[in-house]
C-alpha cells in the first residue's frame, strides 16, 4: 500500500516560483496564455482503451466539444491533452509513456474510468496496470465504467477551469520527479527500460529541474548516453522488447 493518496493536489512550489519571478508583463502574458490553453485543448487521438468509444459521441454533433475549443489531434507533438481511456495493459503503458514524453508542455493527462484509478474490474488481471498516477502525473480522473459523455464533458470543463486558474501544473512534476516516475516504470518494465526521449535534458533546458529529477534510477540511463545526444547515442538506443 502506498502511503499517499491517489489524488494529489499539485505541489504549491510547482507554480509559484516562476510566476513570481516573472515581470508584470510576463505574468499578464502567462495569464492570457492560460486562458487560451483552457479554451484550446488539443486532444490526442489515441484510443488506449474501451473508454474511447464514448469519445466520438462527445466530440461529434450531439455534444460537440469543439464548442469549448477541443479538437482531436493526431500526433503527440501536436496535442495538449492525453486521455487514458480506460485500462492500460503493460504493452500499452510503454507506448503511453513514450507518447506522454513526446507531448509538449503544458500537457495534461486525464484518466478515464475506474480502471485508471484502481484497476476497476480488472483488478486481478495480470496484464493491466492498476494505477495510472504511479507512472504519469494525472490531472483529472473520471470515475465510472463507462463514463458517460456528460461526465466526460464535466471533467473537461473542470480541467479547463483548472488550467485557466493556473493550477494544472502536474506536467512539471514529471520533470521534477522524473527519477520517481522512472523508478516506477523500471520496476514494471525492467531495469533496462528507457525511452528515446531526453526528459532530463529537457528539464535542464527549460529549468524544470527538481530535487528528484536525478537519482538512482536515472543513473541507469547513463549508459544510453541520453544526456549528450549525438555520436554514440544512436547505437545505444535500442529497446529490449
Amino acid at each position: 500500500m502506498p502511503d499517499y493518496p491517489i489524488y494529489r493536489d499539485p505541489p504549491e512550489q510547482c507554480r509559484t516560483p516562476d510566476a513570481e519571478e516573472r515581470s508584470l508583463w510576463g505574468r499578464t502574458l502567462e495569464r492570457i496564455a492560460d486562458h487560451c490553453r483552457a479554451r484550446s485543448l488539443f486532444v490526442l487521438h489515441y484510443c488506449t482503451g474501451c473508454g474511447a468509444i464514448e469519445l466520438p459521441p462527445s466530440m461529434t454533433s450531439r455534444f460537440d466539444l469543439e464548442r469549448v475549443g477541443m479538437q482531436p489531434m493526431v500526433t503527440p507533438r501536436q496535442a495538449d491533452l492525453l486521455l487514458i481511456t480506460g485500462y492500460l495493459s503493460v504493452k500499452t503503458l510503454k507506448r503511453v509513456i513514450l507518447t506522454y514524453e513526446q507531448m509538449q508542455g503544458p500537457k495534461y493527462v486525464m484518466g478515464f474510468g475506474s480502471c485508471t484509478i484502481n484497476g476497476g474490474m480488472y483488478w486481478n488481471s495480470y496484464a493491466t496496470v492498476k494505477r495510472l498516477d504511479q507512472y504519469l502525473p494525472v490531472d483529472m480522473y473520471i470515475a465510472g465504467c463507462m463514463p458517460r459523455p456528460e461526465a466526460i464533458q464535466q471533467a473537461f470543463l473542470q480541467l479547463m477551469e483548472k488550467i485557466d486558474s493556473g493550477r494544472a501544473q502536474n506536467w512539471k512534476e514529471y520533470y521534477r520527479r522524473y527519477d520517481h516516475y522512472l523508478g516506477e516504470q523500471q520496476a514494471l518494465f525492467g531495469e533496462q527500460f528507457h525511452t528515446p526521449t531526453d526528459v532530463i535534458g529537457e528539464a535542464r533546458h527549460y529549468s524544470l529541474f527538481g530535487p528528484e529529477t536525478l537519482g538512482e534510477h536515472t543513473a541507469k540511463l547513463a549508459k544510453y548516453d541520453l544526456y549528450h545526444p549525438g555520436q554514440g547515442a544512436v547505437d545505444a538506443l535500442e529497446v529490449k522488447r
Binding site: C36, R39, R62, R67, V74, R77, G105, E202
Partner: protein
C-alpha cells in the same frame, strides 16, 4: 499612405482576414456536420496557445529556419498583393513573382519537414508536391490566359482594367468564364481541401507534414493557413472578380471564394494521390485549355 505603414498593415490585415476565414471554414464545417462549432475567438486562441507552449521540440537548424522561411514567405507574398488603398510592393513584382513567392513558404516547410526525419512527413511532402504538379498546371494556364487577356502581368494594371467603368463587363469572370471556373477548381486544390487533401490525410500518414510539429512550429502552420486562405482568395478575386473598390467588396468576394471551397470540401472524401493528378489534369486543365483558346481567339481578333 506611406509605404512603411502599408508594409505593416498589409500582413496584419491579411492575418485578421485569414483568421476570420478559418473561423468561417470551421463554422461551415460544423453546420454541415450538424453541430454548433467553435466560438469566434477559437482560431486566435489556438494560435496563441501554440505560440505560448512552454516546451517544444526542434529537430535541427533547418527545422527552425524552415519556420522562419514559412513565416517570412507568407508575409512577403502579402506585400505584393494589392488591396484597396494599399498597393504595397506590387509595382516592384508582378503576378509571376507573386506566384513564385508563394512557393517559398512551401519550400521552407518541405525542408523543415524533411529534417524532422519522419517518414510520414516525407510522404506528406512528396504528396503535396505531387498535388502541386496537379493543380499548378491548370492554374498557370489560367494565369497565362488572364495575362494575355489583360495584356499585362502587373496586378495593379489588371485591377485597373477590370474596374474600368465600374461595370461587371470587364471582370475576368465575364470575359473569361472558362478560365475562371478552371481556376476555381485549382484554387480549391491549392487550399488543400478534400477531395485533394492527400498530403495531410490523418488516417494514412498521420497529418503528414505536421507530424513532428509542436508548439510554435505547429502554430506557424496555423498562421500559414490563415495567410494562404487570404492570399489565394484575394488573388483569385483580383484575377477574375474585379478585385475590390473597397475592403467591403473585396472581402465579400474573397469570402465567397473560400465559402464555395469549404462547402464542397465537407461532402467529399479524399482522392488517392494519382487520382488527384488525373482529375486535375483532366477537368480543370481541359476547361482551362478551352478557355485559353477562347482568349487566343479574342486576342487574334
Amino acid at each position: 499612405m506611406s509605404i512603411a505603414l502599408q508594409l505593416l498593415l498589409m500582413p496584419l490585415a491579411a492575418f485578421l482576414v485569414g483568421l476570420a476565414m478559418v473561423l468561417m471554414m470551421r463554422k461551415v464545417r460544423a453546420s454541415v456536420e450538424r453541430r454548433i462549432g467553435p466560438p469566434w475567438y477559437q482560431p486566435l486562441f489556438d494560435i496563441y496557445k501554440l505560440f505560448a507552449k512552454d516546451t517544444q521540440i526542434s529537430h535541427g537548424v533547418m527545422h527552425d529556419v524552415a519556420i522562419m522561411m514559412v513565416l517570412g514567405g507568407i508575409i512577403c507574398v502579402v506585400l505584393f498583393l494589392p488591396v484597396p488603398g494599399m498597393s504595397g510592393l506590387s509595382a516592384k513584382g508582378d503576378l509571376i513573382t507573386l506566384l513564385y513567392l508563394m512557393m517559398v513558404p512551401s519550400l521552407g516547410m518541405a525542408l523543415g519537414v524533411g529534417q524532422t526525419a519522419n517518414p510520414n512527413g516525407s510522404i506528406g511532402i512528396a504528396r503535396a508536391l505531387t498535388a502541386m504538379a496537379g493543380y499548378e498546371i491548370p492554374f498557370f494556364i489560367c494565369v497565362a490566359g488572364a495575362a494575355l487577356h489583360y495584356g499585362t502581368t502587373d496586378l495593379n494594371q489588371i485591377l485597373t482594367i477590370q474596374q474600368h467603368g465600374g461595370h461587371l463587363e470587364h471582370w475576368g469572370i465575364v470575359q473569361m468564364p472558362l478560365l475562371a471556373v478552371a481556376a476555381l477548381f485549382a484554387v480549391h486544390a491549392m487550399l488543400g481541401k478534400e477531395p485533394f487533401e492527400i498530403y495531410v490525410a490523418p488516417a494514412e500518414i498521420a497529418t503528414g507534414p505536421m507530424v513532428e510539429m509542436s508548439g510554435k512550429y505547429l502554430g506557424t502552420l496555423f498562421v500559414m493557413q490563415c495567410f494562404q486562405l487570404f492570399t489565394v482568395s484575394v488573388l483569385y478575386t483580383t484575377l477574375f472578380l474585379g478585385g475590390g473598390f473597397s475592403w467591403f467588396t473585396l472581402l465579400l468576394k474573397a469570402f465567397a471564394v473560400v465559402f464555395i471551397s469549404v462547402l464542397v470540401t465537407n461532402v467529399y472524401p479524399r482522392y488517392r494521390t494519382d487520382d488527384v493528378l488525373r482529375w486535375q489534369w483532366k477537368w480543370p486543365t481541359g476547361i482551362a485549355l478551352l478557355g485559353l483558346g477562347m482568349v487566343m481567339l479574342q486576342i487574334g481578333r
